[in-house]
Structure formats: structure tokens, C-alpha cells
Symmetry: C2
Subunit: 218 residues, 2 copies
């Protein structure tokens, strides 16, 4: 009783897939309707006949990519943390690259979609962190949301700037190789920390909690 999936072999779906491919590869602003039409082997007018406008096509692509990724994410997310998703990813890295590159471009685009994407990731991080605190594997941070934003910065940063990091690390292939290289240091950082002492933290706390009677403190 599927409604649309069997519709996925039509020219309309072919156009959509071609658009997703080019959007993911070259970005949204640098991809013209004519380029998509050529990629799909079709005339430019047909695109807007099927999707109404360029914005309509973009919307359909967003819906498609967001649909499959959030579906995958939610099914892989509920049981435990990111572990399943990470192992799933490392098992078949190529299965996600198209959607990931698309999300990367959407993130770099600088529109309301980018903001929504980022904030969605923050919410997700916060949920995971709270669960980790609950079962005792994650430190009970005061500002959980702040930590969630921080981890979101790392995740999103690795996705958005992974290709550049690949060059810096002498790897080839975009963010996929970077993720594997980064896993070790990341876990090391996340279990043992970065500094050897808590001098910086205590100094920061003393500096940022300026109790009004600071002279009487000693």
C-alpha cells in the first residue's frame, strides 16, 4: 500500500535525483536549472513543469534527503547513542556520502535551513548527553545545553570542513577519511581531557564569578 515509492522511477524522480547529486557536489547557488536538466538528460522547461519553480525543486530535494536521513538517524538513534550509527557508518561509508554532502552544502548555505539543521543537531546532542548522564557514562555537566552546542560545533565542523582537513592531514576523499583519523584523538580528548591540570578551569571560574565582596574573600 505504498503511496509514492513506486513513483521513484519516473522522470520526475530522475530529475530530483540529478538535482540532489549536483546540489551535493557543487552547492546550491552554483547549480543552475540548465545544469540539472543536462545531468538528467532533459530540457530545462521540464523541470519547472514538474516542480513549479526552482524553489519547488529545491524543496522536493530537501524533503527527500531530510526524509531518508532523519529516518535513518531516528531508527539508529533510539537504542543506544551514536555508537550504532558510527559502526554502521564505518561499515559502509559510501552509503551515506551523497546525503551527507547534501547536508554539508545546506549547512554552508547560510539560510534558514542551515539554522534549522544546526539547531536540530543541538537538540539531538542534548538528548544523547542527558541519556549519558543518566546512565553514568557522561559527566554531569552544569550547562548541558552549552556542552551540546559544543559537541554540535565539532560534529558540524567535521562535516563542513572535513574536506579541508583531509588536505591538511594528507588524506584524500573528503570527510570520510578524516572521521576515521579523528576518532582516536577525539575519544582520547573526551575521556582524559585536554589539559593536565584544572588550573585554567578554576582560574576561569574565579574570574567569571565576581562576587561583590571580592576583597573579603581571602
Amino acid at each position: 500500500m505504498r503511496s509514492a515509492p513506486e513513483d521513484d522511477l519516473t522522470t520526475k524522480a530522475r530529475i530530483r535525483d540529478a538535482a540532489i547529486r549536483l546540489y551535493a557536489r557543487d552547492g546550491f547557488t552554483k547549480t543552475s536549472l540548465r545544469a540539472i536538466a543536462t545531468e538528467a538528460g532533459v530540457s530545462p522547461g521540464l523541470l519547472i513543469h514538474h516542480f513549479g519553480s526552482a524553489a519547488g525543486l529545491r524543496e522536493a530535494c530537501d524533503k527527500q534527503v531530510l526524509g531518508v536521513t532523519t529516518e535513518r538517524a531516528s531508527t539508529k538513534m533510539h537504542p543506544h547513542g551514536l555508537k550504532d550509527l558510527m559502526s554502521e557508518f564505518t561499515r559502509n561509508p559510501d552509503g551515506y556520502t551523497l546525503e551527507m554532502d547534501y547536508l554539508r552544502q545546506a549547512l554552508l548555505e547560510g539560510t534558514a535551513t542551515s539554522a534549522a539543521l544546526f539547531q536540530h543537531l543541538v537538540e539531538l546532542s542534548e538528548t544523547v548527553i542527558r541519556a549519558g548522564i543518566e546512565d553514568g557514562t557522561v559527566r554531569p555537566f552544569e550547562d548541558v545545553r552549552g556542552v551540546a552546542v559544543l559537541t554540535a560545533f565539532s560534529s558540524v565542523g567535521s562535516l563542513a570542513f572535513g574536506p579541508y582537513a583531509a588536505e591538511a592531514l594528507g588524506l584524500d576523499g573528503g570527510w570520510q577519511g578524516v572521521l576515521q583519523r579523528i576518532g582516536g584523538p577525539g575519544l582520547e580528548l573526551y575521556t582524559h581531557g585536554f589539559y593536565t591540570t584544572d588550573a585554567f578551569l578554576t582560574a576561569y571560574r574565579e574570574a567569571t564569578t565576581p562576587d561583590p565582596d571580592e576583597s573579603q574573600e581571602a
Copy 2:
């Protein structure tokens, strides 16, 4: 015996500054020559008369912004770590916003400039980390460059996606407020780590060091 600085009041400099302002605010692709001309109170043809082409104007802007920021960064970087730069920044946050927003756009742009910028930041992070390891304040990581990439992800992420995080945190004003909010959790994370146990790290290490004679290990 200054060569150019006194030239900084001419219309050519006014055009350049107007361009930097618009580039920083709206991004490069969304800023047209005509918009810059209007902002500078000048005719479109004058821009290319002074700078040869749109690319020439862009280049001049890059040179200007990169010049002042790297000058500031190097003078503030040499003595100690980021501490001076951070305190300097928190003291007068508005003094850097224009250049930072410009760099943000350059980072999000997705050209060779973005990659160069990121890689420069990785080098800088690595230098700082190595210095920290030397004086004993930073943990002696195996993969220093990997950690440098990781910290670069965080820095660049906070710059690039700070505005979105501001919305997620209920702050207003872009990445400036986010940095202040993030400082505490960041330091907490960097001194005590994220996890409470090293279970994840050891599990990862066991999984990723598959010595060929694993059965004889015990």
C-alpha cells in the same frame, strides 16, 4: 615613510571598506558590484576602474582583512597561548566583529581561500598544542595533528555556526554571546573530559588495533 596608509581616505579605500562591509554581512556571492557601489555612494563603473574587475576588488578586500587579522593574531599569539587573544577579545568584542564576519563568510564560501584559512588555523592550533605539551599544561597526545584538527573544528565551527547557536541558546548578537556562554562548558570539557570512564577509549583501541595473532594474546 608610509607607502599606502595615508591613501586610506581616498574613494578607492572607501569602496574597499564598503565592499568588506557588505561581503561580511551578506556573503560574497550575494553581494553585487552595484550594491557595493551604492553602499559607497559611487557609480558601478568606478569599481572596476579602480580594481580592474570584481575579482580584483575581492582580492584587495582579502588582502586588507587578512593583513590586519594576521598582524593582530601574530602579535597576540607569540607571547603565550590564546589567553591574551581571548582576554583581548572579551575586553572589546566589537573591535573584531567586522573582520571575523568577513572570515566567517570566506570560510563558508567553499573556495580555495576557505581551505587555506582552515589549514592555517590547524597549523596554528598545532603550534599552540605543542607548546602546551612542552610546558606540561597539555596532555601529551599521540596524534597531535589530529587533536589540532579537532580543536580547529571547534573553533571554526563556533565562528561559522555561532549565529545559529545563538538562536539555539536564546541569545542575540551572533557568535560573540555564544563564545561567552561556551567558555565555561568548554573549559570543563577540556579539563575533566566528557566521559566518566575510559571504557569507550579502551574499547576503541582494542577494536582498532587488530594484531594478527589476537587469539594468542591472552
